[in-house]
Amino acid sequence: MARDFIYLDFAASTPVDPRVSERIVECQQAGFANPSSNHVAGRRSRAAIDHAAEQLASLLHVEPKTLIWTSGATESDNLAIAGGARFRANRGRHLVTMVTEHKAVTDVFRRLQSEGFDVTWLTPDKKGRLDPATFMAALRDDTQLASIMFVNNETGVVQDIDAIGSICRERDVLFHVDAAQAVGKLPIDLSRLPVDLLSLTGHKFYGPKGIGALYVADRSGCHVEPLFFGGGQQRQIRPGTLPSDLIAGLGLAAEIAESSMASDLRHLGTLRHILWTGIADVEGVLVNGDLETGFPGILNVSVDNVEGESLMLELEPLCVATGSACNSTSQDASPVLRALGRSDLLAQSAIRFSLGRQTRQEDVEFAARRYTKAVARLRAMAPGAAA
């Protein structure tokens, strides 16, 4: 089928891998039964879930029993942060996070603030990174939970999870990581990383929407209060009948990601280099983030004297994002980019190109040409431009 758009918004969502689609349909036909049922059909459905847990556990280097299935990263973030904070509320009510987190995290912290928790909001440096020393300085005797994302969804900035997690372990602070943009894309070894809670979602790594997971480390003091009640599934942490078809799809997506991660990363790195090389000469273009240490699947750039919404329209048929796609209806400047020191105008001109497995070299070459032309046209149209 001919494409009427060029999709460069893989950080918002990825197309489901055809093998995953096949697996989901197969499971809907043969493994449709309630996995809590003890008859043969139920056991078959349960087996599909167990297999998927092993596949995801292999990707993350954890035991399958540490994985709690959820509806996606937003639910996982809510369960980890609200559930973790409430579980430890009798020990202390101080929490730590960053202003550059996804709204699925920041809005939970705001909710907890309204419940009487005290939240410290950390800001990154100009490249979006959180200095572990800054993090350590924010901890107090009553700090019980911290949440720092692995890969920023807007800029691709990668945080030093190892260093921050080590500080949390030393201070017995529950450490949650929103890894929605990292799982299946970057190597994550939770047998080594000091992470207590980790959120992920299937549709960011070529799996289905509507299914995600929360990793809950099997160690003393690491637990979350449930958000839902009604049924004893998943150790009562997240009750509800499990969607075996979606879980089976996520499991296969994890297995595919594990086997193709090295080649995926090389592919993304090559394409982002071509894209950046193609637009680097645009006068006044700035990278939001850090090309050297950031995730290679994301390139976020701003330019001066160009209005962001018009730039988006001028870039069609490219499918790209301004700020976070999850917040694309808002006209407000991205708080993530404001935290990097960008002015409102520069933040509003930001375009996030996010690349994926299906992105081709000609796609990014076209995108670079289109971006260059669009900026030139809009600047020429602006008051004050040379006639």
Partner: protein
């Protein structure tokens, strides 16, 4: 598929903004409000608008509204500039109500242009 935020006329005016640019020996009006910048230019003779042009920094609706204004008012009497209403062009282009403030910037610019023409020397 969710609704396109832009009407076909907005897309048409934005993509082919034939009046974007400058005019020689023209009266001009510059307005900057609400994060929108608009510069209108007009040449006129004997009380009639000969040509209109615009420059704009704003969202697609603002650019389309500027183009729509220029296309509609070229050749009309200068006095007709006073009849321009933001609400009319918003309806014509299906501009969402939350962008009213931005389109009112164009209305201010049109008023200012009309005033300048009345106050200034006849261009030809």
């Amino acid at each position: 598929m969710s609704a396109d935020p832009y009407s076909s006329l907005v897309r048409q005016y934005f993509a082919a903004a034939a009046h974007a640019g400058d005019l020689n020996d023209a009266e001009t009006a510059d307005v900057e409000e609400q994060g929108v910048r608009i510069r209108l230019a007009a040449t006129h003779v004997n009380g009639k608008i000969l040509a209109l042009a615009f420059r704009a920094w704003g969202c697609p609706h603002v650019i389309a509204a500027c183009e729509g204004f220029c296309a509609e008012f070229e050749g009309k009497p200068v006095a007709s500039l006073g009849e321009f209403r933001a609400a009319d062009i918003m309806q014509k282009l299906s501009v969402p109500v939350e962008k009213t403030g931005r389109i009112l910037v164009l209305e201010d610019a049109v008023r200012s242009l009309g005033q300048r023409i009345c106050d200034g020397p006849v261009s030809q």
